[in-house]
Symmetry: C2
Subunit: 176 residues, 2 copies
């Protein structure tokens, strides 16, 4: 399964692999994310959830009567993408779109009892999944990692970010 060394003469490629790429945070980030994401997908699949639907369900459970735009902002995704996610949660009856008395445009999202139950179970499953994948890190190191990661995407806005990007920045806000 590892690479087969050329047994013949051949040119004997001196492999240094991805050593130089490793200097980039983004590269290691990508590799680690890919591993975790694939396994999370795997363990969520039997529950009928994907990563995006689990995240949305979790936020909705924790923030009753949330609007779809608020959900989009919390998860840093586009409003348009929340629609299909919400659909996927509403269809099996995990959440419900309730009308808001004073605003007929928006919906108040609320998890159903089944939704809350599934969320609980999915959370357990995901905690087991992280414990399985992160055995190489202590609890302190995991928290440290979370803190470091959070400082990355926290600084996207606070560090004079959103104001001076006329175009081509990370878009979460439309100052237009």
């Amino acid at each position: 399964m590892a690479l087969r060394v050329v047994k013949e003469a051949e040119q004997e490629v001196p492999v240094i692999g991805d050593r130089n790429l490793r200097g980039f945070v983004g590269y290691s980030l990508k590799r680690a994310y890919h591993l975790i994401q694939a396994d999370a997908m795997r363990v969520l699949d039997p529950l009928g959830l994907r990563i995006s639907t689990y995240s949305a369900l979790a936020v909705i459970c924790d923030n009753p009567d949330l609007r779809q735009s608020q959900l989009a902002e919390i998860l840093s995704i586009e409003r348009s993408n929340t629609v299909v996610i919400i659909d996927a949660l509403e269809q099996p009856g995990l959440i419900a779109r309730h009308r808001v008395p004073n605003d007929r445009r928006s919906y108040a999202l609320r998890a159903t009892p089944q939704g809350r139950r599934l969320h609980k179970e999915a959370t357990r499953v995901l905690e087991a999944h992280e414990n399985r994948l992160l055995t190489a890190l202590s609890a302190e190191e995991r928290q440290l990692m979370i803190d470091l990661l959070r400082r990355i995407d926290g600084s996207a806005f606070s560090e004079q970010g959103a104001a001076d990007h006329p175009e081509g920045g990370h878009r979460h806000e439309r100052p237009d």
Copy 2:
């Protein structure tokens, strides 16, 4: 500017946001990766590169005469996906597929002078991009992050199978 507060009476949703999701390393990983990936894509675009093609170009530059399967293994992607990436690099003349004397199945990948030049420039651009996005982290913290991340995807194989490399690397092969 986190959440938009409802201006009217409304139900005043008490927003706790994604606090519970933040307990998962995977969630913060995803957010941070998404930010970095989007910006990396943006800065690579004018050079005609995507993240996947840059990564492949970098590995090919550092490992002359690499085979496509080896590239796949180093980058942890499927062989089938290397094909289109290699195509995208070969078409503008950044790399070339050379025939291998003793094995007519495989190709020896080698970067052209233009490929090496573009790789150098793209690397500078990406370093600037990381310096811009990671201002919240010191150099030591960035290295710490890389180390922590690497321990995640390093442990993916030592878990049960691949009793190969104790040394931090990935699974390549034995140079001997």
